[in-house]
């Protein structure tokens, strides 16, 4: 061990505008979370395999028994699995936030002279990147097992835009869930109670017309269904109807609500 030379103020912070630092700090946090994707290969592998497994199971196990009234089941299924995997994937943000809380990393970041909310921004952005990887793999496997989309290039851009918007909205909700749950264990429970109902009580796997009335009322009007129906229609070239713009309004609305709540909870967390 060499001698410890410590001189107070030997290095000084740079002086830039606060806007500069807001962007720079966010980029540092985004960089950190992106490194997590690469370095936590097990997690990425698990997250990529899960939707593929779901798709193969539904396609081959339930597919024969489910009537979609038109499209083949695999064509019907891909949009549902895609959005389900986004919803499950967003729990990664909850887990990352809870881990940072539990390890004291959030406290430490909050003791720094910066706008510490960038930490959440980092996790949410990483979610977006992970979901893109996940979606590409999933659609690739879909094509192998009979998925035959008719979407044009423009349609695909619209699909990508909608998936990303939805991911972004859900990730902020997931960030809030991480702050509420506080521990990795509670995230798993909370995720179970939130993500399972909103994905299964939707048009992801079966047409909502077979559900009992009360459930159908919920399933047909919740955002997950609108997003799935919009994406499905774009993929298969059927009429999109109102689903697209309702989806966009839902996502934007959720973002407008969730982002300030997440920021407020993040600031408040230890200051109670």
């Amino acid at each position: 061990m060499t001698e410890l030379t410590y001189k107070t103020g030997a290095v000084q912070p740079l002086h830039r505008s606060s806007l500069y630092w807001m962007i720079s700090d966010s980029l540092v946090f985004i960089g950190r979370s992106m490194k997590h994707i690469v370095k936590n290969r097990d997690q990425l592998l698990g997250l990529t395999i899960q939707p593929v497994m779901f798709m193969l199971l539904f396609r081959y196990v339930f597919g024969g028994a489910i009537s979609t009234g038109g499209a083949t089941y695999v064509n019907f299924l891909v949009a549902g699995i895609l959005i389900q995997s986004v919803a499950f994937g967003s729990l990664t943000t909850s887990l990352s936030v809870a881990t940072d809380l539990q390890r004291g990393i959030i406290d430490r970041i909050k003791s720094l002279p910066i706008a510490s909310g960038g930490l959440l921004m980092g996790h949410v952005t990483a979610d977006l990147a992970r979901n893109i990887i996940q979606a590409l793999v999933m659609i690739g496997v879909g094509l192998l097992v009979g998925f035959r989309p008719t979407a044009s290039v423009v349609d695909w851009f619209e699909i990508a835009g909608l998936v990303m918007l939805f991911t972004f909205a859900l990730s902020w909700m997931a960030a809030i869930m991480g702050l509420v749950a506080k521990t990795v264990e509670s995230v798993q429970w909370l995720g179970f109670f939130v993500v399972f109902p909103i994905t299964f009580a939707s048009a992801a796997f079966v047409p909502t017309s077979t559900m009992p009335g009360w459930l159908r009322a919920f399933a047909e009007n919740q955002p997950v269904t609108h997003v799935i129906e919009a994406i499905r229609a774009l993929m298969l070239g059927t009429p999109v109807g109102d689903h697209a713009w309702i989806s966009v309004i839902w996502c934007v609305g959720l973002i407008v609500i969730f982002v300030p709540i997440a920021g407020w909870m993040f600031r408040k967390h230890s200051g109670r």
């Binding site: 107070t8 004291g104 910066i114």
Partner: protein
């Protein structure tokens, strides 16, 4: 306030819901010195650190860090401090170098400065070989060292160390002590919390004993020890009868007794002649000693001396840091 004080706390109060944790705490730390805040779990140590580092808003009182009020000028305070909490708050998936450089960037150092300081600190903290490994492969001691290094990257004038060696094995504890001792010679101000008198004695210029939300005594470690005894001779008696006899015989200032364990503990300066004198005295009175031991005074001895009760764990503080304590290890 005197400009010579790096930290000044006046009548600080804080409650969690109905539990009053800090009940009028007063404390000053002179620039360039190390103060150890000594106390048991739940005494309010972590709460004090969290208020000083602006993570928690005090209910009442005045708290100044580096000349800035923690409530009014939080940003200025955060620019002046480095915080090393009870858990090694480092990123598991990043390497040591990446962790340090990230902290440097977040302290708004230039990327060249961040790189240079990271390299320096890895050398100084004996982490050069581990520098390019992910932190999840580190031992507990290495994580703590990295955590401390991260607090030092931007060379802030004030460092908070919350129980820097809790949970470390003896060897890692010594390594950590070596590093903190070197900081003692630098011009940095350190406030550290500990449950161990030995640690406070070894590292700090001054020691403040925190009990149930207030400072019960403050002074240099030597002053504290001269009151409690440099080495304590503890004798255990056979039965209640001989215990009472021995206590009557030996009772003097600084003598502590525990009726349940039938033990009497006498402050000594640790030399053989003095120990022999005490033992002779007991033996001549015909009192049979069952066992005897000589030990350095502990937090318990300090507490018994100043409060008349042992340093028992008080009700846990109702805050996240405290509730996490059990889960980590």
């Amino acid at each position: 306030m005197s400009s010579n004080n790096a930290i000044l706390i006046k009548d600080l109060r804080h409650s969690f819901k109905k539990l009053e944790v800090l009940k009028g705490l007063n404390l000053t730390v002179e620039k360039g010195t190390i103060l150890a805040l000594l106390g048991p779990n739940g005494a309010g140590k972590t709460t004090t650190i969290r208020i000083l580092s602006t993570l928690l808003r005090p209910d009442a009182g005045e708290v100044m860090v580096n000349g800035y009020n923690v409530v009014a000028h939080g940003q200025k305070v955060r620019e002046s401090i480095g915080l090393t909490g009870q858990y090694a708050a480092v990123d598991e998936f990043l390497t040591g170098v990446e962790n340090l450089e990230m902290m440097g960037r977040l302290y708004h150092l230039s990327s060249a400065d961040a790189k240079r300081r990271a390299k320096e600190l890895l050398q100084q903290f004996d982490l050069v070989e581990a520098g390019d490994r992910a932190v999840k492969t580190y031992s507990g001691g290495m994580r703590r060292r990295l955590d401390l290094a991260a607090s030092l990257i931007a060379t802030p004038p004030i460092i908070f160390l919350d129980e820097p060696t809790t949970g470390l094995d003896p060897r890692s504890r010594l390594a950590m002590w070596d590093i903190i001792e070197k900081l003692v010679e630098a011009d940095v101000t350190i406030l550290l919390t500990t449950q161990h008198l030995e640690e406070a004695d070894r590292l700090a210029d001054r020691v403040a004993v925190l009990d149930n939300g207030i400072i019960i005594t403050e002074g240099t470690a030597d002053q504290l020890k001269s009151q409690v005894g440099n080495e304590r001779l503890e004798i255990v008696l056979k039965d209640g009868n001989t215990f009472t006899q021995a206590l009557t015989l030996l009772n003097a200032s600084g003598v502590l007794s525990d009726e349940k364990n039938r033990s009497v503990s006498i402050p000594t300066d640790g030399n053989v002649a003095e120990v022999r004198r005490v033992l002779d005295m007991v033996e001549k009175a015909g009192i049979h000693i069952e066992t005897l031991s000589l030990h350095k005074p502990t937090l318990d001895d300090v507490f018994l001396h100043f409060t008349g009760h042992k340093a028992e764990e008080e009700k846990p503080e109702d805050n996240d840091a405290e509730s996490k304590k059990g889960q980590k290890k």
